[in-house]
Protein backbone atom coordinates (compact mmCIF):
# COMPACT_ATOMS: atom_id res chain seq x y z
CA UNK A 1 0.00 0.00 0.00
CA UNK A 2 1.26 3.47 -0.94
CA UNK A 3 0.15 6.57 0.93
CA UNK A 4 0.84 10.06 -0.39
CA UNK A 5 0.69 13.28 1.63
CA UNK A 6 0.71 16.69 -0.09
CA UNK A 7 -0.09 19.10 2.78
CA UNK A 8 2.23 20.76 5.27
CA UNK A 9 2.14 18.93 8.61
CA UNK A 10 2.14 22.33 10.36
CA UNK A 11 -1.08 23.36 8.68
CA UNK A 12 -3.15 20.17 8.42
CA UNK A 13 -3.35 16.91 10.28
CA UNK A 14 -3.09 14.82 7.08
CA UNK A 15 0.42 13.51 7.79
CA UNK A 16 -0.61 12.52 11.30
CA UNK A 17 -3.75 10.83 10.04
CA UNK A 18 -1.76 9.06 7.32
CA UNK A 19 0.84 7.74 9.78
CA UNK A 20 -1.95 6.50 12.05
CA UNK A 21 -3.42 4.49 9.20
CA UNK A 22 -0.24 3.27 7.51
CA UNK A 23 0.28 -0.41 8.29
CA UNK A 24 3.67 -1.98 8.84
CA UNK A 25 5.59 -2.39 5.61
CA UNK A 26 3.66 0.22 3.64
CA UNK A 27 5.19 3.18 1.83
CA UNK A 28 4.54 6.87 2.55
CA UNK A 29 5.48 9.38 -0.14
CA UNK A 30 5.65 13.07 0.79
CA UNK A 31 5.02 15.48 -2.10
CA UNK A 32 4.34 19.23 -2.60
CA UNK A 33 3.99 20.96 0.80
CA UNK A 34 3.97 17.48 2.33
CA UNK A 35 7.78 17.45 2.03
CA UNK A 36 7.99 19.78 5.03
CA UNK A 37 7.20 16.63 7.01
CA UNK A 38 10.49 15.09 5.85
CA UNK A 39 12.74 17.55 7.69
CA UNK A 40 15.04 17.41 10.70
CA UNK A 41 14.66 19.52 13.79
CA UNK A 42 10.95 20.31 13.48
CA UNK A 43 8.05 19.66 15.83
CA UNK A 44 6.97 16.71 13.67
CA UNK A 45 10.41 15.14 13.06
CA UNK A 46 10.03 12.85 16.06
CA UNK A 47 6.72 11.48 14.91
CA UNK A 48 8.07 10.79 11.42
CA UNK A 49 11.25 9.13 12.74
CA UNK A 50 9.12 6.93 14.95
CA UNK A 51 6.92 5.94 11.99
CA UNK A 52 9.99 5.03 9.96
CA UNK A 53 10.50 2.03 12.22
CA UNK A 54 7.53 0.36 10.53
CA UNK A 55 6.98 2.15 7.20
CA UNK A 56 9.29 3.40 4.44
CA UNK A 57 9.10 7.16 3.94
CA UNK A 58 9.92 8.72 0.59
CA UNK A 59 10.00 12.39 -0.45
CA UNK A 60 9.83 13.88 -3.93
CA UNK A 61 13.18 15.49 -4.61
CA UNK A 62 11.99 18.23 -7.02
CA UNK A 63 9.58 19.45 -4.33
CA UNK A 64 12.35 19.34 -1.72
CA UNK A 65 14.67 21.40 -3.93
CA UNK A 66 11.98 23.92 -4.85
CA UNK A 67 11.53 24.68 -1.16
CA UNK A 68 15.23 25.04 -0.42
CA UNK A 69 15.28 22.29 2.19
CA UNK A 70 17.59 19.76 0.50
CA UNK A 71 20.10 19.91 3.37
CA UNK A 72 17.55 19.31 6.11
CA UNK A 73 16.04 15.95 5.12
CA UNK A 74 15.79 13.37 7.93
CA UNK A 75 18.23 10.47 7.74
CA UNK A 76 16.55 7.39 6.35
CA UNK A 77 14.08 9.18 4.09
CA UNK A 78 14.45 8.08 0.48
CA UNK A 79 14.38 10.77 -2.18
CA UNK A 80 12.71 9.95 -5.48
CA UNK A 81 12.27 11.84 -8.75
CA UNK A 82 9.10 11.82 -10.88
CA UNK A 83 10.08 8.48 -12.40
CA UNK A 84 10.48 7.05 -8.90
CA UNK A 85 7.02 8.38 -8.00
CA UNK A 86 5.54 6.45 -10.92
CA UNK A 87 7.47 3.32 -9.92
CA UNK A 88 6.08 3.53 -6.38
CA UNK A 89 2.54 3.80 -7.70
CA UNK A 90 2.95 0.78 -9.99
CA UNK A 91 4.77 -1.32 -7.39
CA UNK A 92 1.95 -1.05 -4.87
CA UNK A 93 -1.50 -2.60 -5.05
CA UNK A 94 -3.29 0.63 -4.19
CA UNK A 95 -2.62 4.29 -3.44
CA UNK A 96 -4.33 6.36 -0.78
CA UNK A 97 -3.83 10.12 -1.25
CA UNK A 98 -4.18 12.08 1.99
CA UNK A 99 -5.35 15.38 0.55
Amino acid sequence: MLHTVNKSPFERNTLESCLRHAKKGSAVLLIEDGVYGALKGTTVSGKVSEAMKSVTVYALQPDIEARGVQNRVLDGIKLVDYGGFVDLVTEHNATQSWL
Binding site: N6, Y36, K40, E65, Q70
Partner: protein, 133 residues
Protein backbone atom coordinates in the same frame (compact mmCIF):
# COMPACT_ATOMS: atom_id res chain seq x y z
CA UNK B 1 -1.84 52.18 -14.12
CA UNK B 2 0.37 54.35 -16.29
CA UNK B 3 4.04 54.98 -15.73
CA UNK B 4 3.16 58.57 -14.83
CA UNK B 5 0.79 57.47 -12.09
CA UNK B 6 3.36 55.05 -10.78
CA UNK B 7 5.90 57.82 -10.73
CA UNK B 8 3.76 60.38 -8.95
CA UNK B 9 2.48 57.63 -6.68
CA UNK B 10 1.93 59.03 -3.26
CA UNK B 11 -0.95 58.55 -0.94
CA UNK B 12 -4.34 59.75 -2.15
CA UNK B 13 -5.12 62.91 -0.21
CA UNK B 14 -1.75 62.61 1.48
CA UNK B 15 -3.06 60.16 4.08
CA UNK B 16 -0.48 57.56 4.98
CA UNK B 17 -1.88 54.40 6.54
CA UNK B 18 -0.04 51.59 8.19
CA UNK B 19 -0.43 48.36 6.21
CA UNK B 20 0.52 44.95 7.56
CA UNK B 21 0.77 41.98 5.22
CA UNK B 22 0.44 38.74 7.16
CA UNK B 23 2.01 35.79 5.33
CA UNK B 24 1.15 32.35 6.70
CA UNK B 25 1.45 29.96 3.75
CA UNK B 26 4.31 27.95 2.30
CA UNK B 27 5.45 29.25 -1.10
CA UNK B 28 4.48 26.73 -3.82
CA UNK B 29 1.65 24.51 -2.58
CA UNK B 30 -0.84 27.36 -2.91
CA UNK B 31 -0.88 30.71 -4.72
CA UNK B 32 -1.17 32.84 -1.54
CA UNK B 33 2.53 33.64 -1.14
CA UNK B 34 3.01 34.83 -4.71
CA UNK B 35 -0.25 36.80 -4.63
CA UNK B 36 0.82 38.56 -1.45
CA UNK B 37 4.18 39.47 -2.92
CA UNK B 38 2.56 40.91 -6.05
CA UNK B 39 0.12 42.99 -4.03
CA UNK B 40 3.01 44.31 -1.92
CA UNK B 41 4.93 45.33 -5.05
CA UNK B 42 1.91 46.99 -6.64
CA UNK B 43 0.88 48.85 -3.51
CA UNK B 44 4.44 50.06 -2.93
CA UNK B 45 3.69 52.66 -5.63
CA UNK B 46 1.26 54.35 -3.25
CA UNK B 47 3.88 55.18 -0.67
CA UNK B 48 2.08 53.80 2.33
CA UNK B 49 3.74 52.58 5.50
CA UNK B 50 4.16 48.87 4.73
CA UNK B 51 5.26 46.04 7.01
CA UNK B 52 5.41 42.31 6.26
CA UNK B 53 5.00 39.60 8.85
CA UNK B 54 5.95 35.97 8.24
CA UNK B 55 4.51 33.39 10.59
CA UNK B 56 3.49 29.73 10.60
CA UNK B 57 4.39 28.16 7.22
CA UNK B 58 4.86 31.69 5.83
CA UNK B 59 8.44 31.59 7.12
CA UNK B 60 9.17 29.02 4.40
CA UNK B 61 8.63 31.74 1.76
CA UNK B 62 11.96 33.34 2.61
CA UNK B 63 14.10 30.24 3.12
CA UNK B 64 17.42 30.37 1.24
CA UNK B 65 18.41 27.93 -1.49
CA UNK B 66 15.08 27.44 -3.28
CA UNK B 67 15.54 25.83 -6.68
CA UNK B 68 12.39 25.25 -8.73
CA UNK B 69 14.02 24.04 -11.98
CA UNK B 70 12.69 20.50 -11.61
CA UNK B 71 9.12 21.47 -10.69
CA UNK B 72 8.73 23.92 -13.57
CA UNK B 73 7.36 26.86 -11.60
CA UNK B 74 8.95 30.25 -11.11
CA UNK B 75 11.25 30.68 -8.11
CA UNK B 76 10.06 33.99 -6.72
CA UNK B 77 12.21 33.97 -3.59
CA UNK B 78 14.84 36.35 -5.09
CA UNK B 79 12.09 38.97 -5.40
CA UNK B 80 11.95 39.38 -1.61
CA UNK B 81 15.43 40.88 -1.91
CA UNK B 82 14.03 43.56 -4.26
CA UNK B 83 11.63 44.85 -1.59
CA UNK B 84 14.26 47.13 -0.11
CA UNK B 85 14.39 49.02 -3.43
CA UNK B 86 10.61 49.45 -3.13
CA UNK B 87 11.13 51.02 0.32
CA UNK B 88 9.57 47.98 1.98
CA UNK B 89 12.09 47.45 4.73
CA UNK B 90 10.09 46.29 7.72
CA UNK B 91 10.09 42.49 7.60
CA UNK B 92 9.14 40.63 10.76
CA UNK B 93 9.43 36.88 11.36
CA UNK B 94 7.85 35.02 14.25
CA UNK B 95 10.46 33.35 16.43
CA UNK B 96 8.19 30.50 17.49
CA UNK B 97 7.37 29.66 13.86
CA UNK B 98 11.07 29.48 12.99
CA UNK B 99 11.81 27.29 15.99
CA UNK B 100 8.96 24.86 15.30
CA UNK B 101 10.52 24.28 11.88
CA UNK B 102 14.13 23.99 13.00
CA UNK B 103 15.02 27.22 11.21
CA UNK B 104 17.12 30.23 12.27
CA UNK B 105 17.57 33.75 10.97
CA UNK B 106 20.66 32.56 9.06
CA UNK B 107 18.45 30.31 6.92
CA UNK B 108 16.57 33.31 5.50
CA UNK B 109 17.20 35.08 2.19
CA UNK B 110 16.56 38.63 3.48
CA UNK B 111 17.45 40.56 6.63
CA UNK B 112 14.51 40.43 9.04
CA UNK B 113 13.57 41.22 12.60
CA UNK B 114 12.76 38.09 14.56
CA UNK B 115 10.02 38.78 17.11
CA UNK B 116 7.81 36.80 19.46
CA UNK B 117 4.19 35.74 19.02
CA UNK B 118 3.21 38.43 21.49
CA UNK B 119 5.04 41.08 19.49
CA UNK B 120 3.34 39.85 16.29
CA UNK B 121 0.02 40.28 18.07
CA UNK B 122 1.01 43.83 19.05
CA UNK B 123 2.03 44.49 15.45
CA UNK B 124 -1.45 43.48 14.27
CA UNK B 125 -3.04 45.81 16.86
CA UNK B 126 -0.89 48.75 15.79
CA UNK B 127 -1.74 48.70 12.07
CA UNK B 128 -4.64 50.44 10.27
CA UNK B 129 -5.07 47.77 7.61
CA UNK B 130 -4.16 44.07 7.71
CA UNK B 131 -3.97 42.07 4.51
CA UNK B 132 -4.04 38.35 5.24
CA UNK B 133 -2.52 35.72 3.01
Amino acid sequence: MTDEMMEEGGAPGGVVKKFLYVNRKAPYGTIYALESLEVVLISAAFEQDVSLAFLDDGVYQIVKGQDTKSVGVKNFSPTYRALEGYDVEKLYVEKESLEARGLTEEDLIVPVQVISTEEIADLMESHDVILSF
